[in-house]
């Protein structure tokens, strides 16, 4: 039994359908992140859960109770907005308790809850200030306080960190995660930042063009993307996608790509040829994450299929912990991740190790994953 059930939900504006038959079941205590580029429909979906937009067809139910047509304030949900949406004319304390006041909670109880939430978020000294006098991070806390004080069934977050600077964003991310772990609440969180999605979620729904492209745990999404879109969207730097041709030889399966000089290179696949039956010689798209292309010493020792080859390094980007290198394969830039002390330089014809365990193969026409 699911806690929040999104069943066959569609959204139309006039004749234009912007969300197509979305199904998601969220269990109690889950942290679901909706991620996707802007315009993918993730905010629309969130707003429909909140009751801020009408549902064109389908059902959204919380605790088995259909929410279609139920007023936002009656759904026992709370939302943190991108701009925090703090009421500029009210003090922090007022902002937090406004919802309780609207629901007719007596003053004493309001104050008690306010005190508790303020303690938890460490904003007690700010309670008498107006939002205009707060820093970005403080506003963010107040916004969360406003959501927390309601003690809702479901928390909704609409890109809550996108207005913060990089450092603060990381801090707040951690804080949200802690909060989730401590309170065990159910959260639906919208973001366009895949790192946030990966770090925070228990499950991710990757959306594009009004469709759910993939719904799964961060690991599943990362390692076995359903299609090229998910593969390219999740991960940074993003997955290398190369044109390749399947070569089957008895039980062995391999793909052939062109190296930096245009010479064919065969990369064995760690799967039986039977899984690619009938595809011998067909064109495919080979996806390899940057961390699967390393210097030989940095290769994953537990991996079964590691291919060594030499290729010319075009650019190196030392990032401190690692060094990213760009090389050319199959006519495209390919990014690899080497150890910081791998000592490669631009122009070197360096040794590379490719961990084919992590490789995925897509059908170029349907863009869906084959292996």
């Amino acid at each position: 039994m699911s806690f929040l059930k999104i069943d066959n939900v569609t959204k139309r504006y006039g004749a234009v359908e912007v969300l197509h038959r979305v199904d998601i079941d969220v269990q109690q205590g889950e942290f679901l992140v909706l991620v996707g580029p802007s315009g993918c429909g993730k905010s629309t979906l969130l707003n429909m859960i909140a009751g801020l937009e009408e549902i064109s067809s389908g059902t959204i139910a919380i605790k088995d109770k259909p929410m279609n047509g139920v007023h936002p304030s009656q759904r026992n949900i709370a939302m943190v907005f991108q701009s925090y949406a703090l009421y500029p004319n009210m003090t922090v304390g007022k902002n937090i308790t406004f919802g309780l006041e609207m629901h007719g909670v007596p003053k004493a109880e309001r104050d008690a809850k306010l005190g508790k939430v303020a303690d938890m978020l460490q904003i007690t000294p700010l309670l008498d200030r107006k939002p205009g006098q707060l820093s970005g991070g403080q506003r963010q806390r107040v916004a969360m306080g406003r959501a927390l004080v309601r003690d809702p069934d479901v928390f909704l977050f609409d890109e809550p960190l996108s207005n913060l600077d990089a450092k603060l964003r990381v801090d707040m991310r951690t804080e949200i995660k802690k909060l989730h772990q401590r309170l065990g609440t159910t959260i639906v969180y919208v973001t366009h930042d895949q790192i946030e999605a990966m770090t925070l979620s228990t499950r991710i729904a990757v959306m594009n063009g009004g469709y759910i492209q993939q719904l799964g745990t961060p690991r599943e999404i990362y390692d076995t993307p359903n299609n090229i879109f998910v593969a390219a969207f999740m991960g940074s730097p993003s997955m290398n996608l190369l044109d390749a041709v399947i070569r089957l030889d008895g039980d062995d399966a391999a793909v052939e790509i062109a190296d930096g000089d245009g010479a064919p290179v065969t990369l064995p696949l760690p799967i039986p040829a039977a899984r690619l039956q009938g595809r011998d010689g067909t064109k495919v798209v080979l996806g390899i994450r940057p961390e699967a292309i390393t210097d030989p010493d940095g290769a994953d020792k537990s991996a079964n299929t590691v291919v060594a080859l030499k290729n010319v390094i075009d650019v190196t980007e030392p990032a401190g912990s690692d060094t990213f290198v760009t090389t050319t394969m199959a006519g495209k830039d390919v990014i690899g991740r080497m150890r910081a002390d791998a000592h490669v330089h631009a122009g070197d014809n360096a040794d590379l190790a490719i961990n084919m365990d992590k490789a995925v193969i897509f059908d170029p026409k349907t863009e869906d994953r084959i292996v």
């Binding site: 009408e54 259909p66 047509g69 007023h71």
Partner: protein, 298 residues
């Protein structure tokens, strides 16, 4: 929208209904008192109404009469002159004042209300004051003569060919301060960093205004245009108080024309037809503008 209204709870349905309910009275009165009356006027323009509305249709007779009246042609020409000069000059002066006032001027707090106050006066007061000042017999010319500048001459208000410009003068006096306020608000809203960037790029003051600042004032220009053009079209009191439409009929505008045919000449049909022509002109100018503006915002 095709949702599931059957499932909506009472509160939500009420909440969906209230906004429309709140808007309804305004929409209703606008439809009745503006568009209803416009249709009524359109109807009257095809009747032989004289002192009171009559419902006897006569086809396009009023329109054909209207365009035979040299008097109507005069008032249309006058409106063209008046509106273009009034809008143009008010905008220029307003822009100049706002620009200069924005140069960290000492005493800005005192100057601003001085520029702004004429807008507070009714056109009747404005007209009376300027009529006096412009009258060669008692006003500026007379004073200059008393002060010994015998050759000073400023008799525009008595001259059929120039009187319309005195109407422009008084109208500009009244509204340019308001335009100033709009531009000042626009200027104050411009991001400083852009200006700094432009200065770094080596733009001269003049170039900076022409290339960077003016284009950003576009919304202010448009607001000023709407307000000024609506004032220009409706200008009635000012003409009546300043020149009474004279000398002769030299400063007659469509608004005064419409009024005099409808009310003092008891030719309501012709008055209505002139109103229809005027409304059509306004619509021809405003509808594309409103369309562009409102569509953009969507």
């Amino acid at each position: 929208m095709a949702s599931a209204p059957a499932q909506a709870d009472l509160r939500t349905r009420l909440q969906n209904f209230i906004p429309k309910l709140v808007l309804a009275p305004s929409v209703a009165v606008i439809f009745l008192f503006v568009y209803g009356f416009i249709i009524f006027t359109l109807y009257l323009s095809f009747t032989d109404s004289r002192i009171l509305p009559s419902y006897n249709l006569v086809g396009f007779e009023n329109y054909s009469k209207l365009f035979r009246l040299s008097h109507w042609t005069t008032s249309i020409t006058n409106l063209a002159i008046f509106a273009s000069l009034y809008i143009g000059i008010s905008t220029l002066i307003g822009l100049a004042l706002a620009t200069f006032l924005d140069q960290k001027i000492r005493g800005e707090g005192l100057l601003r209300p001085i520029y702004l106050y004429p807008m507070a006066l009714s056109f009747i007061v404005t007209g009376t004051a300027w009529k006096w000042l412009l009258d060669p017999g008692i006003g500026l010319e007379h004073t200059m003569h008393l002060w010994g500048w015998e050759s000073f001459q400023f008799g525009w208000i008595k001259n059929s060919d120039y009187a319309i410009y005195t109407v422009v003068l008084a109208a500009v006096w009244q509204s340019s301060g308001f335009v100033m306020a709009m531009f000042l608000a626009g200027l104050r809203g411009i991001d400083n960093e852009i200006l700094k960037a432009a200065q770094m790029d080596g733009a001269s003051n003049f170039q900076m205004y022409r290339r960077i600042i003016l284009p950003q004032l576009r919304p202010a220009f448009l607001s000023a245009f709407v307000i000024l053009s609506h004032l220009a079209v409706k200008s009635y009191d000012l003409v009546i108080a300043l020149t009474g439409g004279g000398p002769g009929r030299a400063t007659e505008l469509p608004a005064t024309f419409m009024y005099s045919y409808t009310f003092t000449r008891n030719q309501m049909g012709i008055g209505a037809s002139s109103a229809v022509i005027m409304l059509m002109t306004i619509a021809a100018i405003m509808v594309p503008y409103l369309y562009a503006e409102l569509r953009e915002k969507k």
